[in-house]
């Protein structure tokens, strides 16, 4: 029983982190309509900055110092990721469509190459993050894990609601107008450069927040955690969720539970040859399923009303 609760809580935290990350991608892709392939780079910036700040903690420092460093790491991580977003968007403002996608991909892959080749950042192996909060162990394990799960779920819900609010705000309306028809929106006097810069720093900041939480919770960050496939998967959740924050959160929950469920053989229900095949071919089955889903519902399972882009 204890094991099940432990397992559920741990995965609840990772699920929330994924939701926050996806909320950032919703801002970039859903609101601003930027075809991004580099959001995992922003997450990496947040995670590595958080790890660096946590490394400042002296052994045996007080609880207050740890809390201060934790807050500082979140601020620096989010700020750093947002700055990364600005750094990328600034020079590439005039790029559109697929070219912007390539630029974001190049940005994050170059960033990862630098991390892989820098010994101070742990290279390929990655670095351990100094724990700022009590690690969940011993008798109080479940209570501590529960607190973490509660906090991260709250943060995920907060970011989803914030992104939802943002969509209805003046900025959000401007962003959507620019996304659906840039020429028309600009002729109404909307500043597309400003809107793109703001949305990129906001989206990248959210991805950075997810990175921070990931670094602190998992206790280890490596370049492998922020690969291209992870980023593409999150973009996939966003598309399946109809490019809205709430829909994306639902899509993530469904796919995550499906994936974990298959790993656990549907909680012990799947046995025998069928079970073995399903578990062995899990990734191939999921990829095929997602292709089919996208083929039948290319705007997501429950698409938001959105001007259909014509070829």
């Amino acid at each position: 029983m204890e094991l099940i609760v432990d397992y559920t809580l741990t995965h609840l935290v990772y699920l929330s982190i994924l939701v926050i990350f996806a909320a950032g991608v919703v801002v970039l892709y859903g609101l601003a309509g930027v075809f991004t392939l580099g959001h995992q780079g922003f997450m990496a910036i947040g995670a590595y900055l958080a790890a660096g700040i946590a490394g400042l903690m002296p052994s045996g420092g007080s609880f207050g110092l740890a809390a201060a460093l934790l807050v500082a790491s979140v601020i620096v991580g989010v700020g750093g990721a947002a700055a990364g977003g600005l750094l990328l968007t600034g020079p590439s403002l005039r790029l559109g469509g697929d070219y912007m996608a390539l630029a974001t991909l190049a940005f994050s892959e170059i960033l990862l190459a630098v991390i892989r080749n820098t010994e101070a950042l742990g290279g390929m192996r990655g670095i351990d993050v100094v724990s700022l909060l009590p690690r969940a162990s011993g008798s109080a394990r479940l209570a501590i894990l529960g607190t973490y799960a509660l906090a991260s779920v709250a943060m995920a819900a907060g970011s989803v609601l914030a992104v939802r609010r943002l969509g209805c705000s003046r900025l959000g309306i401007a962003l959507r107008a620019l996304r659906d028809d840039e020429l028309a929106a600009r002729s109404m006097g909307l500043d597309n450069r400003q809107a793109r810069l703001i949305s990129f720093s906001l989206g990248a900041g959210l991805c950075g927040l997810a990175g921070c939480l990931y670094a602190h919770f998992s206790g280890h960050v490596s370049p492998r955690d922020f690969g291209f496939v992870q980023g593409a998967l999150v973009l996939l959740y966003v598309v399946l969720g109809g490019s809205t924050a709430v829909g994306t959160a639902c899509a993530i929950a469904v796919v995550y539970i499906l994936d974990e469920g298959l790993k656990l053989r549907c909680f012990g229900l799947l046995t025998g040859v069928l079970g073995d095949t399903l578990v062995n071919w899990k990734d191939a089955i999921l990829a095929g399923l997602l292709i089919a889903l996208l083929a039948w519902r290319p705007y997501g399972l429950l698409p938001a009303d959105r001007m259909r882009s014509k070829r």
């Binding site: 070219y99 990829a287 292709i291």
Partner: protein
């Protein structure tokens, strides 16, 4: 031959392989407006197809030993092309056709999905351990006309069921280079001929410039797209054969990095242009080989990032590439 020249030749050969993959990528982008992320997997399929064909006991069916050597090479090149083309057409039919008209992001994600699916199938069917190009089995080395191309292999004798005393021979480095050069020249000139001189090539170019106008003069886009996928997959498959012959290391994930580089080559050459794709590939191959040969060792870890840096520079300075038209801006 001096060190510099050797490096230049190496770089050109590597660059031609990138170019070969990039041509297919570029053509597909031009016609279907689709970033085909699964293109590297067609390359992988081609490598496996070529490898399995080369492992067939061809010596049993052929008379002379010389015929075996050239037959093996030619057949596995063809098999590489065929498996690349088949996988490519299948992916177009099963995955891309429905999504292509709807949303570009969905199309791209389908491409990523297809790429992951093909890799997973590769892992299950071929296992993850990297393989090299098999040795050629010949009954009598003296009967091979260009014997200097072959050298006795340290590997095991080829086939357990062999009745005549067989010798396992491997292509020597210069033999590999010569074969690579010939196949590359044939494949690239074939690609140029197909795109620039045949009716199908003309249709493909017409659809990629303006689909509506092409339709209005009676060109049906769908067959043109299928042909593009077939040719692109075949070129990637030939590149896969050459890669397995020259560098070995055939495994399910082998397509990813060359795929990304071909992608970069296509973009810096100008998406949609065959000449541009080859030029971009050559530039990338040369730059990579020369920087690897002359820059200090610490830089070598950045070998794969170099391509992306080049891509970023091109995107910021000249987004439509060396020879490209402005594409991909408005959906």
């Amino acid at each position: 031959m001096s060190y510099l020249w050797a490096q230049i030749v190496n770089g050109l050969m590597l660059g031609c392989m990138y170019g070969l993959i990039a041509v297919g990528f570029s053509l597909v982008y031009g016609v279907a407006r689709l970033m085909n992320f699964a293109h590297g997997e067609f390359f992988m399929a081609g490598a496996f197809g070529a490898l399995f064909t080369a492992e067939l006991p061809l010596w049993k069916w052929s008379g002379g030993a010389g015929a075996t050597v050239f037959g093996t090479l030619a057949l596995s090149a063809l098999a590489g092309a065929a498996s690349g083309a088949v996988v490519s057409v299948l992916v177009e039919r099963l995955a891309y056709r429905r999504v292509r008209r709807v949303s570009r992001t969905a199309t791209f994600l389908v491409a990523v999905g297809a790429s992951i699916l093909l890799q997973q199938i590769g892992f299950k069917v071929f296992t993850a351990s990297p393989r090299g190009f098999p040795d050629v089995c010949i009954p009598d080395p003296a009967a091979v006309p260009l014997i200097s191309w072959l050298e006795p292999s340290a590997g095991l004798p080829c086939n357990a069921l062999a009745t005549p005393p067989l010798r396992a021979m491997a292509l020597s480095p210069s033999g590999t280079s010569a074969v690579t050069f010939v196949v590359l020249a044939l494949a690239i000139s074939g690609a140029f001929f197909f795109v620039l001189r045949t009716d199908t090539g003309l249709a493909i170019r017409a659809v990629s410039i303006d689909e509506k106008s092409a339709r209005s003069i009676g060109i049906r886009p769908q067959p043109a797209i299928v042909m593009t996928f077939a040719v692109g997959g075949a070129l990637a498959g030939i590149a896969g054969f050459l890669w397995s012959l020259r560098y070995g290391g055939v495994q399910p994930l082998m397509g990813f990095i060359p795929g990304v580089k071909a992608f970069v080559a296509a973009v810096i050459g100008g998406v949609g242009s065959v000449t541009g794709a080859v030029l971009g590939g050559l530039l990338l191959g040369l730059l990579e080989t020369l920087s690897f040969a002359y820059l200090p060792g610490e830089v070598s870890g950045y070998k794969d990032a170099l391509a992306l840096l080049l891509l970023l520079v091109f995107l910021l300075i000249r987004p439509h590439g060396l020879l490209g038209r402005k594409l991909g801006e408005a959906a």
